[in-house]
């Protein structure tokens, strides 16, 4: 008689042990190796596409900036570009530069945030402290320009709401110099660290072929040797006027993605500096009276990849359809290509955010390689309690009364 083989599944989520977001990863494992991964999302679905249909064209940017606190400049920009495409508007020069400055500052703080978190997830908290400390002045600059550290609410159809005041320019340039030096130091410290090489190289490889099949974007694609970047390929805002380069690395592992993000941070600093110095004079917005019927696509290189918005208008004052695709929507499914065959310990950093939670013991059974259960939950609980009792006896603590075997949740002592 053939025994039914049960595949052990390691459940990570939906309340994530490390991050504040809700997501649920089910890792099918064989020993230490991950053999399959199933991702469940949408615990936090807010129906923003539907809400957008009930708002006026000039209200939607405030809604879409709340899709993500970190990408709160890229989403509204993609949306207004789609609407400007429908209406055939070209915003004033100065507005394009202000948009560039806000978006690049956003990229700097987002990449530093990622570097810090990545360090934290692999237990390298020094990197976390550094990166987040250097990120702080960037948020202060954004606050000085837009009034907010996040959710800038600065972009509108036809231009921008707030200008970069000329008197803040010397301060921005001075801060940029400081941030640049710190970032350089951080980049060198991270990239020359042999421990990080050992920990991150060859881990979670996403091959170029898989990256194309899963249509990943942003640093995920550029880390796999696909040199795509909307800022260069379909230039918007003032990117065509600036001198910068697209960073790509061929390896596809976690280390390559870290290199891409760190070097991109330096490129972004250069871009902000150029944009601030070149900032043209003039108005920052056009008056937009009406959006004619039509449809438009706007896409923007957000820190995580391409943000895509499609807007359709019937000539009224509200969009009749507004489709939003954030970069993670295509980047997350690529875990199927990058995690399978990895050790559980490497999946932590491959998911870049996910830490398999071993305290989720009530969902876990110890299974040997052939799939038969050697210790189930109750046995593990009993063994654990027996061990505690033994230890307490050894150190002379008062004796612990164990509840009857299998009485899960029974009071101890």
């Amino acid at each position: 008689m053939k025994e039914t083989v049960r595949k052990p599944v390691l459940a990570v989520g939906p309340f994530h042990p490390l991050q504040e977001e809700m997501e649920f990863f089910q890792l099918t494992i064989d020993g230490e190796k991950v053999t399959d991964i199933d991702v469940r999302i949408s615990y936090n679905h807010r129906g923003i596409e539907k809400i957008s249909e009930s708002l006026q064209f000039d209200q939607v940017p405030f809604l879409v900036s709340r899709i993500c606190g970190i990408c709160s400049a890229s989403h509204p920009l993609a949306y207004v570009q789609a609407v400007e495409e429908i209406a055939g508007i070209k915003p004033p020069e100065r507005a394009l530069y202000v948009r560039t400055i806000i978006n690049e500052l956003e990229r700097i703080h987002s990449h530093l945030l990622w570097v810090g978190l990545a360090g934290h997830f692999i237990g390298y908290d020094t990197v976390f402290m550094w990166a987040w400390k250097y990120r702080e002045p960037v948020l202060d600059l954004l606050e000085e320009i837009s009034g907010n550290r996040n959710n800038y609410g600065n972009v509108r159809v036809g231009g921008c709401r707030e200008d970069v005041p000329d008197e803040t320019i010397p301060k921005i340039l001075k801060e940029l110099d400081i941030i640049e030096k710190k970032t350089e130091m951080l980049t060198k410290a991270v990239l020359d660290d042999p421990v990080l090489h050992a920990r991150l190289k060859g881990v979670g490889v996403l091959t170029k072929e898989a990256a194309i099949k899963y249509a990943v974007t942003g640093p995920t694609a550029r880390g796999s040797g696909i040199g795509i970047d909307v800022r260069r390929d379909d230039p918007y805002a003032a990117y065509a006027d600036l001198d910068w380069k697209v960073i790509a690395q061929p390896e596809g592992d976690v280390f390559a993605k870290a290199v891409v993000r760190l070097l991109e941070t330096s490129e972004s600093i250069k871009m902000v500096r150029q944009a601030v110095k070149k900032l043209p004079k003039g108005p920052i917005a056009l008056e937009v009276k009406q959006v004619p019927p039509g449809e438009g696509c706007g896409h923007v290189e957000a820190p995580r990849g391409e943000t895509f918005h499609y807007v359709r208008s019937d000539g009224g004052n509200r969009p009749i359809r507004h489709k939003i695709r954030a970069p993670s929507y295509v980047n997350v499914p690529s875990f199927k290509a990058s995690c399978i065959g990895q050790d559980i310990a490497d999946v932590t950093i491959t998911l870049a955010a996910v830490d398999p939670c071993y305290s989720c013991t009530e969902r876990l059974a110890v299974v040997d390689r052939h799939g038969s259960i050697t210790h189930d939950y109750e046995t593990l609980l009993r063994l654990s309690r027996e061990k505690t009792a033994r230890l307490q006896k050894d150190i002379g603590a008062p004796e612990l009364k164990l509840p009857p075997n299998g009485a899960v949740g029974g009071k101890i002592g």
Partner: protein, 156 residues
């Protein structure tokens, strides 16, 4: 391939038959909204062939699909980006059977489309034939069966 060559290749497929079971006219219209925005209009039964051509022959990068409940039909807009020229190519296809809307899934050759097809199945109730894993993605487990929140006739 520069923009000129891309335009030529796209106009070639207009009348090119893909296999015997398909209609000779694969696309009904090519709309050029601007140099970098091209819309290819086709009927639902040809969408699979057009998508396969864009992804495998042209090498365009899949962005997403927009599902729209128009009054008379459902529209699916498959957005691609051809990055060497920065051109956004959209395949606009019409599903005219409102009672049992269905279309061939593109996930078998393009795994990037798995989630968005599941999402459109959730919110518009369109059946994607031959989809490997057409379970719920967006809607909660206790959401009533047969209620599609992005359809125009759904009650608030």
């Amino acid at each position: 391939m520069n923009q000129q060559e891309l335009d030529n290749r796209l106009s070639q497929i207009k009348n090119k038959p893909f296999g015997s079971e398909l209609r000779a006219e694969l696309l009904t219209t090519i709309e050029r909204k601007s140099d970098k925005r091209i819309f290819l209009l086709c009927e639902a039964e040809n969408a699979y062939a057009v998508n396969k051509f864009l992804f495998e022959d042209i090498g365009a990068r899949f962005c997403t699909v927009t599902g729209i409940d128009s009054d008379k039909c459902f529209e699916l807009l498959y957005h691609y980006s051809y990055d060497p020229t920065g051109c956004v190519i959209t395949v606009k296809t019409f599903i005219r059977n409102r009672q049992a809307p269905a279309i061939e899934s593109i996930t078998p050759f393009l795994p990037a489309a798995e989630w968005i097809e599941r999402e459109i199945h959730d919110i518009l109730g369109i059946d994607f034939r031959n989809h490997p894993n057409l379970k719920r993605l967006i809607l909660a487990d206790d959401w009533p069966v047969g209620v599609y929140p992005l359809r125009k006739d759904v009650k608030k």
